[in-house]
Point group: C2
Chain length 453, copies 2
């Protein structure tokens, strides 16, 4: 009896330990999730605002169910309004508008064609009505699904084509059971319009996130990241004294995100094209120019990546060889850095950057000096393998100068296309005091994929 | 009177001309669309099959409306089945399964929570029922929308989270008007399950497209493209006679698609992870190993891109300098080419490639020779700017050899992980006769974005 009791106690203890373990694990998972959530929110507080906006929009639209006088008009169809909000509400105004317009037009066209198919089938007589409908649905679904493979349609109207198939099938097929097809199509369309307008209204008028503005910011900050690398490059490569080394190294590595920026830029341009003119963007913005600047920036970033390889490579070029090219190289990299930072600042503040060109001229002069230095070449007895890295670094820097020139040209083109202000003296003083602030991680907030219902 | 008639005739003629012009334009657009469609279909005939499958699936599921004994069970809810088919049917089995599973589980959980919220609200009493429901919807929608920003959840469960919000809102809100919430949730779930199963069945059993198989093909063909470039490189750089120049140039440029292959590879791996074992892929496939091979292939492609720059650059290195490095360089590039092609063939046929290692050993020997040649350096009176390009080409080729070694190692690892066959003599003969065929354009067929409802 006593031993049985003891066993029970042991069993209970074991259960207790197991339970405690489980609880600890769950607590761990929850704490980690909370930490991650806090980080995500701090990285880009607009994420929190977006979530609240979605919650608000769904709650507002669900009012259709709660108030009798609203419910009577639509009945069960109020469902479509809720559905539209959930599906159409995206992070940026452009994405939301794109989806909303796609959905509205596709519902209209799909509904109209569905009603037409229903009429056609009922003319054909009761016996073959079913077959005619099936044939219509099969043909339309097959054709439109194939159309979704056309690259141009896919880029802008993929969602619309899907909704078209959906609405057409629903309206034409339901028509077989419910003779008030026209009424049904009309109710579906109007609830979708109500849901869509509520979404667009909340999206635009409560803390809007403009894809165009984010594209603008990301373009400027990418150019700046290149500038930050080049600023530190001379010091690190020629091993000059540097008081705040580790912090510098981290910010120098930031250029790496530029290498993979093509996806987010394409997505943002696609969204921005749906957006109306607004705020700072009063003039129609030449979004394709941003793509051009982006690809030039990436080209420069690849060269910087190659340069970075020499920075960290184990092959140490002898100091006497380095010192020959030191002056011109540090000059080139610091002047390019200044020019790029000026350009980035100009884009951010939407002003024409005047001093960038001065820095570029200085960089070009250094490049010429370096070229003639290399030509006269005073390396008689040196191993060719010792010279190669230094010469490669030098020629990479020369290439980076010409990349910077290209970037500057396309930024100037952007400035004239979108009518940037010419800064007065007061502004110039202010600008030189202020440093460009880092942008929050835009990449993670915008959805690369256009998602759903 | 006569002049009026004449004017009428002229007016009619003008209308006729305008009408003809319009007709011609429309015909032009249609002809172009038809041509594009033909091209898309020829590029990858699976697109046509996919469209027909979608048409078939929608038609099959719409049978629920046409037959009385089927319709009685579900009534209007049959709509959800049609909707599920339209939304879940994707190009590959993996994408379809991923969406189907996400949708089914999200509907189950969202429905359950919706019923619970409804119960909770009705316990609270009639007066505040409406407020409790609104609060629940607001909280859940906000929280789950924020959860969609977590990168890990976004990658695999984004669609599920959206459907969760959708189902929860619909069930809990409709519950306010319709007391048979449980019944409603049950009907929604069962129709979605029926639609989903029909979709998955048709997707898997009629000409299935496996994302895993496409990933496999694309990995092999990317490695092969590098091989094709290196095969032609020696001939073009050292200006050796070549009988079929233009055709060769086009196939040499194919490596450029490899540079942007990251997106499609990530998408395919994401889809492939949802797929069950099948056909040739009887063993659990190490999909992450494909990503590793892919990134090594891209690394090599960047080096090849740098090499290509020297091929087309205007700076012509004097022939006497080129001829010094000619032998080792052509040897290295042709041996690497053979090795890469062997590896690609091995992946395609799922056999261990034995001769690749022999080619690699030969390439390594040439690389060593070249290095010592460069070290002893016999370029006394030459301008350093003349030597640089040739030496850079040589060192790029040396780097490509070590890249090839890395690719070979990871392919061997893949071979042992997924238990590739060791080829017998008969197979080896067969393989050497057959060349790897080009794959159709896989990129355009798979949807990068996970789309909708």
């Amino acid at each position: 009896m006593a031993s049985e009791n003891q066993e029970n106690v042991r069993g209970l203890k074991r259960v207790g330990v197991w339970f405690k373990g489980c609880l600890e694990k769950i607590m761990n998972v929850l704490t980690n999730a909370a930490k991650d959530a806090k980080k995500l929110g701090e990285e880009d507080p607009r994420r929190v605002v977006h979530s609240l906006k979605v919650g608000l929009a769904i709650t507002v639209v669900s009012l259709f169910y709660y108030f009798d006088f609203l419910y009577q008009g639509f009945g069960v169809n109020a469902m479509w309004a809720v559905m539209t909000v959930v599906v159409v509400f995206e992070f940026s105004v452009g994405a939301t508008l794109g989806k909303g317009v796609n959905r509205a037009i596709a519902t209209l066209l799909g509904g109209a064609l569905g009603v037409a198919a229903h009429r056609l089938a009922s003319f054909a007589g009761e016996k073959i009505e079913c077959s005619v409908l099936m044939l219509c649905v099969f043909l339309i679904a097959t054709m439109v699904t194939f159309m979704r493979f056309f690259p141009k349609l896919k880029a802008r109207y993929d969602y619309g084509l899907l909704i078209f198939i959906l609405t057409f099938s629903l309206i034409s097929v339901s028509g077989y059971r419910d003779d008030e097809v026209l009424d049904m199509a009309h109710r579906r369309l109007s609830t979708i319009l109500i849901g869509g307008s509520a979404t667009v209204f909340i999206c635009i008028f409560i803390c809007p996130v403009w894809a165009g503005a984010d594209l603008h910011k990301i373009t400027a900050s990418n150019i700046e990241k290149l500038g930050i690398f080049l600023e530190g490059f001379g010091r690190v490569y020629f091993q000059l004294p540097n008081d705040k080394n580790s912090e510098n190294q981290a910010s120098m590595d930031e250029y790496k995100t530029v290498l993979n920026s093509k996806g987010i830029e394409d997505t943002l341009v696609n969204f921005a094209k749906w957006e109306p003119r607004h705020g700072k963007f009063r003039y129609r913005h030449p979004w394709d120019q941003y793509l051009k600047i982006g690809s030039l920036t990436r080209e420069c970033a690849y060269k910087i990546d190659a340069l970075n390889g020499y920075l960290n490579s184990d092959v140490q070029t002898p100091v006497e060889i380095r010192s020959k090219i030191q002056e011109s190289c540090t000059m080139m990299s610091s002047e390019c850095s200044c020019a790029l930072r000026e350009l980035a600042m100009g884009i951010k503040t939407m002003t024409r950057s005047l001093s960038a060109d001065i820095h570029i001229v200085k960089a070009k002069t250094s490049a010429k000096k370096l070229k003639s230095l290399l030509k006269t070449g005073l390396w008689p007895d040196t191993d060719i393998f010792d010279i190669i890295p230094a010469v490669t670094v030098a020629s990479l820097l020369i290439e980076i100068v010409s990349c910077t020139v290209k970037i500057a040209d396309s930024v100037h083109e952007l400035a004239s296309l979108s009518k940037f202000k010419t800064p007065d003296e007061k502004m110039i003083k202010q600008l030189s005091l202020e440093r460009v602030k880092r942008t929050p991680s835009i990449e993670g907030s915008h959805s690369f994929s256009v998602v759903f219902e």
